[in-house]
Point group: C4
């Protein structure tokens, strides 16, 4: 039996955070993970999608139509059974990563990022398996003192500070 | 020394859940994991099989003849030493995954699914090693509102609801 | 820069259990893991070896000369920096696996087995990295009822029973 | 889409310890992990760098100019988004590994070592993903009794002893 390797590009607008992983029991988990996200972060806006193999459907839900549809389109593009895609605004991966990883239907998380993402996917005649993740463009320069100061002002501006 | 890569198809009827992993001490573990499954879920029906390398035998047990034989046939097909296959009905992976992962003889779980499964297996002149898992067919469509409603009715019908 | 893949055969007599993993701080860890093994299982006989890259030495210790030398020979054969090999008698992996995995200098365990073992090793011009493990010969038959009864008698004979 | 595999050499002087891993939210995490290191080990000297994909910058901080610049140079060389490099003196990986792994923005640690290191990196047209790590030169000899005595004196001299 043969196997080929493919690179799948994730579609998402800037500013949207993604968490991509492997789980099971899609018909239940897509909603149950959604509830877990709602209780983890007040005000989170998200879409979650998860592939089912029988019927061959990408299941999805969330509390933001645009993110729900986008999560679904990306999960469909990856194709791999039981792969889930979470896309969110007004929440960072560090707010929910432990919630996601400890969910009883989650096997593993491949990556968590606001960057453009690509997945390395193996395809057999049955289906597709995620092998790895490329998390955004490669760095090309080291930050300057000026850029470091701007970065810290940014982190403070978005609220990660105590007085 | 040479190594070749092979795709192994798991045989199982629809509706049967599978958990495939790596462990050790097969002569003991096949029965001890079986006991752990029995205590984890009342009414679980399952077969478990685990490969031993010396003698080259697939060990198996369970509480359902059909699932026991099927688990054994699949473990034999994979071949890899210390690989185990659990096939079950009347229980979902989310009910037992933590029980399985925390068993002292379990090294790791490769996948947990009701979907058709394929394993990517490396073969040397000594034996075989599991490299990855394909978990069912790729999704081909996004669910419609109608399919979402049917899915939620299904989850409720199988008992995941409180009044 | 180039990379090649090699299969390394572990040498050990029948009846000797092996645990192979990755860690750090070899000059300290080889002895400290040895102490952890001594406190984990009364009567354990073992050798442990761990590779150091500077100087390029395989460090080793234990409480059994034969197993110490054999562990050292195998670690040397694998070559990979910070790889450790534990060989033991009068103890099973299930007795010490959690002790080993939770040691602060252990990164991961590749496998734990009494079977003949092969390691899939990548080699660059700098050194060598373990990619995977083949744990014994592939199974060729499913156990018979007779063999199952013999297996259970064996488990009982080696003490895994309560009256 | 194509993918190529590359071996990236980490630059660092002897005696400097490295921890290389994957995380997220670089603008925040580079400083927050730095604070975690400071509270984990009194007297630690370190530099930490982490790649951001937009802008394509290697972020860095620490409490030692040389190590900060070196960590930044190495992270830049690896390139992979959200990859972090910690370089340190006066602290060993065993002092901080659990602190690093349990940080809410850390996904995984690829390796922790004072040895020369190489990373196996996949490159797509988008960016770069770490696939594995070579941790120092391969061992070429087994330690002699004399070398074992010297090693134990060294461990004692660096303080791992109680009277």
């Amino acid at each position: 039996m043969a196997m080929k390797i493919e690179v799948v590009e994730i579609e998402k607008p800037e500013g949207v955070e993604a968490i991509i992983g492997q789980g099971n029991f899609s018909v239940f988990t897509v909603d149950d993970l959604a509830r877990a996200l709602l209780t983890a972060v007040p005000g989170i806006k998200f879409g979650i999608a998860m592939n089912e193999a029988k019927p061959q459907l990408t299941r999805f839900t969330g509390n933001d139509k645009e993110l729900e549809e986008l999560a679904a389109r990306n999960a469909l593009k990856i194709g791999g059974g039981h792969v889930f895609v979470i896309l969110m605004r007004d929440a960072f991966p560090i707010n929910v990563l432990n919630t996601v990883k400890s969910h009883p239907a989650v096997v593993m998380v491949y990556g968590a990022s606001e960057n453009p993402l690509q997945l390395i996917v193996a395809e057999t005649e049955l289906g597709r398996a995620v092998l790895g993740i490329v998390d955004g463009k490669a760095a090309t320069k080291i930050e300057t003192e000026e850029q470091k100061r701007e970065r810290r002002e940014l982190v403070e501006r978005i609220g990660y500070t105590i007085d």
